[in-house]
C-alpha cells in the first residue's frame, strides 16, 4: 500500500477534536458503501483508538500531535477502508496493548476490545522515531451481508 492516503488529518491531542474526526470517518465510510450501522461502528473503533492515544500515548497532554491517514480500499483491489493512526507519544510493546478480561467488570479496559470486535485487522507497531502506529482495516461486506446488517439495525 504505497499509495499516498486519500485523506490525511493531523490533529492536536485534545478530546474536543474527537467528535469532528469521527464524523469525518462516518462520512467517508458511508460514501465507500458501508451501511450506516457499520460506518458508526468504524467511527467508534477509531474514536477508541484516538482516545487511547490521548490518554496513554500522551498521558492526557493536549499539545501532542496525532495523524489519521485514510485509504479508500482495504487493500489494493479490495473494497473497504484502511485507517492508520500515528502518534509521537510513548512507545509500548504492542503485545501489552490489550483490554481487560470482559468478565472482570470494572471501569475502563474496553477500547481495545471494541476495536478488535469492529475491525477486521487491528495491528499496533512502534514507529521508527517515536510513538506508535496503529493500522485498522475493515473490508466492505458483500451486498447480502450488508443488507443483513442493515436489517439487524432496523
Amino acid at each position: 500500500m504505497n499509495q499516498p492516503p486519500a485523506i490525511d488529518i493531523s490533529l492536536r491531542s485534545k478530546p474536543i477534536y474527537l467528535a469532528g474526526t469521527r464524523e469525518l470517518i462516518v462520512g467517508i465510510a458511508k460514501r465507500l458503501g458501508f451501511s450506516d450501522q457499520l460506518a458508526a461502528q468504524i467511527a467508534l473503533a477509531s474514536d477508541e483508538a484516538l482516545a487511547n492515544v490521548i490518554n496513554h500515548g500522551y498521558g492526557r497532554r493536549e499539545d501532542g500531535i496525532i495523524h489519521v491517514l485514510l485509504w479508500p480500499e482495504a487493500e489494493p483491489g479490495v473494497k473497504g477502508l484502511r485507517l492508520v493512526i500515528e502518534d509521537e507519544g510513548v512507545q509500548i510493546d504492542p503485545d501489552k496493548i490489550c483490554g481487560r478480561d470482559l468478565d472482570d467488570v470494572k471501569p475502563g479496559g474496553l477500547g481495545v476490545h471494541i476495536m478488535r470486535e469492529v475491525m477486521d485487522i487491528v495491528r499496533y507497531e512502534r514507529r521508527d522515531q517515536a510513538g506508535m502506529r496503529l493500522t485498522m482495516i475493515k473490508r466492505l461486506p458483500a451486498p447480502e451481508q450488508k443488507e443483513a446488517h442493515e436489517a439487524r439495525s432496523a
Binding site: K14, L18, A40, L44, E48, A51, N55, P107
Partner: protein, 114 residues
C-alpha cells in the same frame, strides 16, 4: 483557551429515585461532565439512580466506564442503578462490551422507576 462543552445534563427527583438525563454525544470530552452529574445526584442518597439515555446518540467506552463506575458506587451505597431508553447505537456498545447483562436496562423511564 476555554472551549464550551455543550452537553446538557438535567436531573430530576421522582419519589425515592433520581433520574439523570444527559443529552448529546458522550465521549472522552464529555464523560467527565456525566461523571460529575452522577456523583452529585448520588450525594443526595437516592434509593435508585436512573440514567435516561434517550438523548444520547453516541457513547464511547469512556461513557461506558463512567456508568460502570456509577454502578459500583450505587452498589456500595446499597442503592441500585437502572439505565433506560438506549438508542440502537448506544445499545450496540453495551453488547460489544458484553455489559447488557451486567446492567439493568429498561425500555423507558416508567419501567426504570417501577
Amino acid at each position: 483557551m476555554d472551549e464550551p462543552d455543550d452537553i446538557q445534563i438535567s436531573s430530576e427527583t421522582i419519589g425515592a429515585a433520581v433520574v439523570v438525563r444527559p443529552v448529546g454525544d458522550i465521549d472522552l470530552s464529555r464523560s467527565p461532565v456525566l461523571r460529575e452529574s452522577i456523583r452529585s445526584a448520588l450525594s443526595d442518597g437516592p434509593g435508585r439512580l436512573v440514567v435516561d439515555l434517550a438523548g444520547v446518540d453516541y457513547m464511547d467506552s469512556s461513557g461506558v466506564a463512567t456508568l460502570v463506575e456509577a454502578m459500583q458506587l450505587t452498589k456500595r451505597g446499597g442503592h441500585d442503578l437502572v439505565l433506560c431508553s438506549l438508542t440502537d447505537r448506544v445499545r450496540s456498545i453495551f453488547e460489544i462490551a458484553r455489559l447488557e447483562q451486567v446492567f439493568r436496562i429498561e425500555q423507558d423511564v416508567d419501567a426504570a422507576l417501577a
